[in-house]
């Protein structure tokens, strides 16, 4: 499987929380290559199952949604008032190009930027209340074509940087989706567990999808595959992983110690580059919801380090996806938990 190509195709699909179907359909297409029964439910969650008659079932989860915007008002002049969906960095919004995903097709727009003569000194960052989307449409046309509740996304085609790095919006968490697909390819029929896969919706707005998918999966253990912070200028390097240094294995009071240890052991044994990510409580990923699903699930996190999370210019290294996938594949093959 061509990781780069798959990631680019997945990142090109839209899936703002609560409206994930375009992205879910692309993910379903890929998942169907590795699993026989793949479905998308009414929310946009993608499910796949693969049974080998093993004792235990593992859930591999990545979230399919991405941050974005939701239109909540249209002015008389046709400007669109929006609210963030998920944790959007307001400071970088001015003059961003966006697509408004209207029922009649994508509409290009630009987020307004308040010129210095009316902004209140440069110490203050942009206030999201002052920003609108400018589509160039007049009020009537805008209101006719853009019903309230329409989503908008950053408009930026995935693009290759130097080496094996890719920049795009939605790498959080399409990188996780690709990691799982690649792990399934690597493990083939050698899994020591029955496998369920969920590409869950609405993670960015409170892990709602994972609550549903983990209930339905009825699994014994789970790995949540998400992205985490790679060190970059302005970050605290003690709190970040490093790009290109492999999968970030989560260690936290809310995660299964046994699984974290097994993952580290398998990485060492198979010479797979890895790093640890220590968290002091909940992880901010689907693992938080999955861990307390039904009567409880042993859960681990394997995260792909990315830079500039929740921006239109997220950056990932393909090698980190490959190494995360290798690690998960080894865990599946091992099957000793």
């Amino acid at each position: 499987m061509d990781i780069k190509k798959t990631l680019i195709e997945l990142c090109s699909a839209y899936g703002v929380s609560g409206d994930e179907f375009s992205a879910s359909d692309v993910a379903k297409k890929y998942l169907s290559k590795y699993m026989t029964k793949v479905t998308v439910d009414g929310f946009g969650n993608v499910y796949g199952d693969m049974n080998f008659g093993r004792k235990k079932r593992i859930l591999l989860d990545a979230h399919i949604d991405q941050i974005g915007f939701i239109i909540n008002y249209v002015t008389e002049d046709g400007f669109l008032k929006f609210s963030p969906v998920g944790g959007v960095d307001t400071r970088l919004l001015p003059a961003q190009k966006v697509y408004v995903i209207s029922p009649n097709g994508d509409i290009s727009g630009v987020i307004t930027s308040v010129p210095p003569h009316i902004s209140k000194g440069d110490e203050k960052a942009t206030n999201i209340d002052d920003l609108y989307i400018d589509t160039g449409l007049d009020g009537d046309t805008a209101k006719r074509n853009i019903p309230l509740g329409t989503r908008a996304v950053f408009c930026a085609e995935p693009k290759e940087l130097l080496g094996d790095r890719i920049t795009s919006p939605a790498i959080d968490d399409r990188a996780g989706v690709v990691t799982i697909l690649r792990a399934l390819e690597l493990v083939g029929k050698d899994s020591g567990y029955d496998i369920s896969v969920a590409f869950s919706c609405m993670e960015e707005t409170g892990e709602s999808g994972a609550k549903m998918t983990s209930y339905n999966a009825e699994c014994d253990l789970a790995i949540a595959v998400d992205v985490s912070f790679a060190n970059a200028k302005g970050e605290d390097k003690n709190k970040c992983g490093e790009m290109g240094k492999g999968a970030m294995i989560g260690i936290s009071p809310t995660l299964s110690k046994e699984m974290s240890k097994a993952l580290i052991k398998l990485a060492e044994k198979n010479n797979i580059p890895y790093q640890t990510e220590v968290m002091s409580g909940e992880t901010g990923t689907d693992a938080d919801a999955i861990g307390v699903s039904r009567s409880g699930v042993m859960t681990a996190t394997v995260s792909v380090p990315i830079k500039y999370m929740h921006t239109p210019v997220e950056v990932v290294s393909v090698s980190d996806i490959e190494n995360s996938a290798r690690l998960i594949a080894e865990f599946l093959k091992d099957g000793t938990i």
Binding site: P94, A95, S108, V110, K124, L162
Partner: protein, 336 residues
């Protein structure tokens, strides 16, 4: 006009690095006028009209655009940058760029929002908090592709918005360049000097030299100016309004314009039924600041295209204003 503007906006040319724009323009005006390129890189063109003009007229626009310059390379391969021209950090952060002669793709990153304190989220990021990431894993690798001192430009396409708008980088002032190319390619009634200028965004520097060389009696500066006709800005704070035609200003922060030429512009607009407006705030400035004090003084007027989100990768202009501005400028060139 739209096609010409599109091609011009897509060219990279921050202040001091205007050669791609200059070559494009030279190619377009060749055969339509006499021209020379001066020591700074300004194009000074002389277009013969059907008649001699009593007084010398200089029409000008600037070729440069705002951007960034690489100042140093960090150990992690990311690039530190400084702004060239007036750009706010909010226009840079989270945007895509091209770096250097090799046009290496890069992105402007900062710490993830999750890792920024609540207080800092309310502040504009400092330039020193940002860096340009070209994907290089370390300093050595980065230096294979980029050198210190190289230019960084916005990676921004030219898109139509809605029915009448366009979005691009560098509309300020490739619009002026496009208008002048069209005028040079057309037949003019009177002899006219056209100056395509460098280094406007870093202190109106090209204009100083060119105005000295041409020694005009009158000057017409073609520009793009801030339109703030967006929600939250009321009355005079809007500065000017898109779709209402070119902006003719009486005063900005660099110039008090010629009353005579100001009146002439509105007279012509009235006579020919061209929409035309003035600026409702004393804000901004342009090459007129340098030109009107050249030698013993030059009667100067600026005609500007209303431009939203100016000095950002996504400037927005109204195509109706493009046309009405061109009409007014054409008339002014015949009548000054």
């Amino acid at each position: 006009m739209k096609e010409l503007l599109k091609e011009l906006c897509l060219l990279d040319g921050i202040s001091g690095d205007e050669q791609r724009v200059r070559e494009y323009i030279l190619d377009k005006i060749k055969g339509f006028c006499e021209y020379s390129v001066d020591n700074l890189g300004n194009i000074i063109a002389f277009k013969k009209g059907k008649n001699k003009r009593d007084k010398k007229l200089m029409v000008s626009a600037h070729m440069d655009e705002v951007g960034l310059i690489v100042t140093s390379v960090n150990d992690d391969g990311s690039l530190n940058v400084d702004t060239v021209g007036g750009i706010e950090t909010s226009a840079i952060i989270g945007k895509r760029v091209f770096v250097g002669e090799k046009r290496i793709s890069g992105v402007v990153g900062s710490a993830a929002i999750h890792n920024i304190s609540k207080e800092d989220r309310k502040k504009a990021p400092k330039l020193s908090d940002l860096s340009v990431d070209i994907g290089a894993p370390d300093k050595n690798e980065a230096l294979k592709y980029v050198s210190v001192g190289e230019c960084v430009t916005f990676d921004s396409d030219f898109t139509e918005l809605g029915d009448n708008k366009i979005k691009a980088k560098a509309i300020d002032d490739r619009f002026g360049c496009a208008v002048m190319i069209k005028l040079i390619q057309s037949e003019l009634d009177f002899d006219t000097f056209f100056a395509f200028l460098v280094q406007e965004e870093v202190g109106l520097r090209g204009a100083k030299a060119a105005a000295y060389s041409i020694a005009p009696d009158a000057a017409l500066v073609i520009e793009a100016t801030t339109a703030c006709d967006i929600p939250g800005a009321e009355e005079e704070k809007r500065v000017c309004v898109q779709g209402m035609g070119p902006v003719v200003s009486f005063m900005d922060r660099s110039t008090i314009y010629s009353k005579e030429l100001y009146s002439l512009a509105f007279e012509i607009a009235n006579e020919k039924g061209i929409l035309c407006q003035t600026k409702t705030m004393i804000a901004g400035g342009n090459d007129a600041g340098a030109i009107h004090t050249a030698r013993g003084g030059v009667k100067t007027l600026a005609v500007s295209l209303p431009c939203r989100y100016i000095h950002s990768p996504s400037s927005v202009a109204d195509m109706r204003d493009l046309e009405s501005s061109y009409e007014l400028i054409k008339q002014l060139v015949q009548r000054i």
